[in-house]
């Protein structure tokens, strides 16, 4: 079974600090893509960052970066200089060709940002 595990149901970070959200996945596929989506309280999911599995270099988008460990099947999200607006539910997801590229999500991590 293709699964995505987010082991931290809730995380808390102080404003301006750095936080890392963990994600592991289980797949036998070689061609797949990994994503982090953010779901703010308004509940519209927004793409934060994405990574192709065959690329070694970790993706970065401004304050957001990933630590992709392919052998360990780990895809953690690091948020630097946390802001109040980062408070949201964060979902790790991946998709692969044989699934028709449907997104397979983890259960999510709720991130609280404190002033």
């Amino acid at each position: 079974a293709q699964t995505v595990t987010q082991s931290q149901p809730e995380m808390s970070v102080q404003e301006a600090e750095t936080v890392t959200l963990s994600c592991t996945y289980d797949t036998s596929e070689s061609d797949y893509y990994l994503f982090w989506y953010k779901q703010p309280p308004s509940r519209q999911m927004i793409l934060v960052i994405r990574q192709e599995a065959y690329k070694q270099q970790n993706a970065t988008e401004n304050r957001f970066s990933v630590n992709f460990q392919k052998a360990a099947k780990s895809f953690s999200l690091k948020i630097s200089d946390s802001q109040l607006g980062d408070a949201a539910m964060y979902f790790c997801a991946y998709k692969w060709r044989n699934s028709g590229y449907a997104l397979n999500f983890g259960k999510g991590t709720s991130l609280l940002v404190t002033p």
Partner: protein
């Protein structure tokens, strides 16, 4: 910025009734998806749709469900005879292409409550 819209935001229905959830994907997108999120659980893929046909569907998408693109803009999900366990948040998504890298853009969701 173009976005996916969904109506209604909240639908309450009696068990056994038919419901139609509506979505307007981003205008130049060709691939459409429905996902659902039961409260407290992960977001799950239901179905993908392209060129007026279902491309992929999950085990959840049984004969009670159907999808349609009745005109050039709307994309609908119909549940023929709702059950209590259909209560969930339903998300529509669209993408330009059906590949690993393409971003799926999500709507704000419709909360379906079955009584």
């Amino acid at each position: 910025e173009p976005e996916v819209t969904q109506t209604p935001s909240h639908q309450v229905t009696q068990m056994g009734q038919e419901v139609i959830l509506r979505c307007v994907p981003i205008s130049n997108h060709l691939y459409f998806y429905w996902y659902r999120q039961i409260l407290g659980q992960k977001v799950e893929f239901l179905v993908s749709f392209y060129n007026n046909e279902i491309s992929e569907k999950s085990e959840i998408f049984d004969d009670q469900f159907s999808v349609e693109r009745p005109d050039g803009s709307n994309f609908t999900l119909k549940i023929r005879s709702t059950k209590l366990e259909d209560s969930a948040m339903y998300f529509c998504a669209s993408s330009e292409a059906r590949d690993g890298w393409s971003e799926q853009f999500f709507g704000p969701g419709t909360r379906l409550t079955v009584l």
